[in-house]
């Protein structure tokens, strides 16, 4: 058994390097694996039905070739990479795929997939409203409900209140543990590097929740006790942006005189700041995903029905959770990264940078095309940014 031979951080690294290894084993033992795209499909329902949720990422080292049949080059390359891997049959270990209308282009993955692949396995596309308005939360609850009905067919069983409650508690436990993991980077120097942290986060998204939780417990203990600590560096950074699931960027930043101590990305903290609240029903899930998760894809404003929009107040209402992270983790610079062609994050850039300016926090914006190749040109800019912070 692979699980027994390797533990803690080295297990996380092993899973990071071969993400589907563990779920393939589970599948051989009769488990059904459900891939999900982006962090809006409620994993609690997947877990509650005895299925294993597996987050789908692209592959930054794999050239995009097959996807050209169904997508153009002018769309988000993360989306293109997922389509590409799908068309190449690299998700053959999945019994189902759940997508969400997180952004217009991301939603297209499921549609293009269904049209391009004959006999696609179970797929579901969850509509996510654009705002956090109260009627939108109710509508989203209905969407979660139809997702639930549909995936019950795949699971061959019905969701009960009890199963859902247990799944919510387990995932909340994971959220708590992840917050503890991030706490390990509050000291200076941090006890864990950002690349190690990313490996753990990617591993969590490739494991059943209970295995992820025990992995986290082991890692927290291991890191707290380990003798070799990262060396002190000049600068403590926060990384912001859409999906980034590869250690390349973190390695690149940390090869300069900087630690990345916290992030606001959808592979990092975004899904873990807030817990699902009791009573653990579908409405609570709708509230959690649409309102409590802070991602630029959702339209938010300082006050509902406001008749005047004050720039500073607006920014503070949207970004003050970042301010809190900056204070709590002692951050002195922010790297805004985005994959090219991401509309939901792109429009945010000058405004978020302005907000950071008002906090006296320098920032830099870097753009890449979700490939390891596109990292190299960023290197000098990141290093120079770190040099300006000295």
């Amino acid at each position: 058994m692979a699980i027994a031979t390797n533990k803690g951080l080295s297990l996380a690294r092993e899973i990071y390097a071969d993400r589907s290894k563990r779920v393939r084993e589970l599948r051989r033992d009769g488990k059904k694996i459900v891939g999900y795209i982006c962090l809006y499909p409620p994993v609690e329902i997947i877990t509650a039905l005895g299925l294993v949720p597996f987050r789908i990422f692209g592959d930054m080292s794999e050239p995009i070739t097959a996807a050209d049949r169904v997508s153009t080059t002018m769309v988000c390359p993360f989306v293109r990479s997922i389509l590409d891997l799908g068309l190449k049959g690299k998700f053959d270990f999945l019994d189902g795929v759940v997508g969400a209308h997180t952004c217009d282009i991301g939603a297209g993955i499921i549609l293009q997939w269904r049209d391009a692949i004959k006999d696609a396995p179970f797929t579901h596309l969850l509509d996510v409203p654009h705002t956090d308005h109260a009627p939108a939360v109710d509508y989203f609850e209905g969407q979660i409900n139809s997702f639930k009905r549909h995936i019950e067919e795949l699971a061959g069983e019905k969701l009960t209140d009890d199963k859902l409650k247990k799944a919510c508690e387990m995932h909340n436990e994971q959220r708590k543990l992840v917050r503890q993991l991030y706490d390990l980077r509050k000291p200076d120097p941090p006890l864990l590097s950002s690349a190690e942290n990313l490996e753990v986060m990617v591993a969590l998204s490739s494991l059943p929740v209970e295995e992820g939780n025990s992995l986290l417990e082991d890692i927290i203990q291991e890191v707290t006790e380990r003798k070799v600590k990262p060396s002190p560096k000049k600068v403590r950074l926060l990384v912001w942006g859409p999906v980034f699931d590869n250690t390349a960027l973190y390695d690149l930043i940390e090869s300069a005189d900087a630690h990345v101590v916290v992030d606001d990305t959808c592979v990092g903290t975004r899904a873990f700041w807030a817990d699902v609240k009791p009573p653990y029903n579908l409405h609570a899930l709708a509230q959690h995903y649409l309102v409590d998760i802070k991602c630029p894809r959702t339209y938010r404003q300082a006050e509902p029905f406001e008749t005047r929009r004050d720039y500073d107040k607006d920014l503070d209402s949207r970004f003050n959770y970042i301010k809190k992270a900056i204070v709590d983790w002692g951050v002195n610079g922010v790297v805004l990264q985005s994959v090219k062609y991401c509309d939901t994050h792109g429009y945010e850039v000058p405004n978020l940078r302005h907000y950071l300016d008002t906090l006296g926090i320098p920032s830099i914006y870097i753009e890449h095309d979700y490939s390891e190749r596109s990292m190299a040109p960023i290197k000098t800019r990141v290093e120079a940014f770190v040099e300006t912070l000295g």
Binding site: T72, D115, H133, G142, Y299, D343
Partner: protein
Amino acid sequence: MSDSVAPAKTEQKRAINRLKSMYPLRNLVAQDYINTLQASNEGKPTVWAMLNYWEGDLPLKAMGLNIVYPENYSTLMASSGTAEPFLDASDSDGFPTHMCGYGRSTIGYSFRMMKQNDGKIPPEAPMGGMAKPTLLLGSGIICDARFKWFQALSRYFDAPEWCLEMPMMGTFEGTEPDLEEYQVKFLVRELRDFIAFLEKLLGKKMDWAKLEELIEVGIKIHETCWQIHELRKVSPCPMHSTDFWSSMPPALFFAGDMYEALKCYQDMLTEVQERVKNKVAAINYPEKYRIVFAELPPWHSLKFFDNLAEMGWNFVYESYGYHNPRPPDLSKVSDPVEKLARLSRNFVFNVHPYAKADGIENPIVETYLRIAKGWKADGLFLHPLISCRAASAGLRSVQDQLQKRLDVPTLWVEGDIIDKRVFNPQETLARAEAFEQTMEHYRKVRKSRGLDW
């Protein structure tokens, strides 16, 4: 090769046979810019709105507001060749350069107005400019840019934004039983909140009678437009895509006075009927090929269609995102808000049942399959844009399925709605010439498969 784009030499006959009834429709939108400027000068509220497929337009109009649509204004900047400094201004204020060209030109416009020109209209703005907004109406229909970019404008304006909702889904989930009622319920609640917000903002009550009346006029406009475009199924096609683009604002976002618009569209219907009766084509050359255009046109290079018309290319349908579907029967619905919800929702969901029957998951693909069949397309001109994901992402699937299911070939030409520097007309014309042989070939293939065009 460069002389192939030069205007036809001797007799100055125009390659495209424009509809006379198009011109008054084209002028209606100009009226909106003037009215909005005037309203602004008088201290009255003004609105910048995104295309919202009528759920927001009609309440705004019923409240007597003057509205301009930056998406439309950006096409004016592009076609008048004035977009570039605004794009530069957007870049210089730190917005990434890969985003929607409409968004970037509007952002640049706002930057010029508020940061460099004291809140006044920048002197280089075409058509007298867009007046400063007191309300920004964003929309979640189709693309994310349309609420994100208005959100970003908080950088320049203290105008509040409202973001309209609309469910977006594919065929499978979009045809679930009971879905429509549950979506309408959601939209009705949203729209009631929106109207309550408008009442709060403007300090006056909604004129419900007016709203009902405008909904009825709007439905008539849409019914008329639908009839016009059905007539384009005949050969030779009596109306060219360029006439559609010039005349669409009064149906797409109810530009201008709606009663006048209805009359104009009725005139257009009459003119098109006349042409059909007399077999008059939309181009002054024999209709050799019937072409469908997807999706947004190169506004800066519309002249280019004249060159194609000279080659006998008639553009018989276009831009599904700019067409209204046939309006649903709402005669039994009494609540005007519910009518709005159903009218608007129908834009997104009208094609889903057909898609389901055909086993197509992406509604855009089904839309183009239906258009190609209905309008007997010899080919599709696909125009993926560097700056609009929404109108580009599905085009590969469209291409794939059209070829597979109907043997209709496609010409793939990369370009942009705003940035003319990425479009190469000479090269495209050369490719178009070669494409004729492809179209000829597939005509035969379709015949041999028993398809009727």
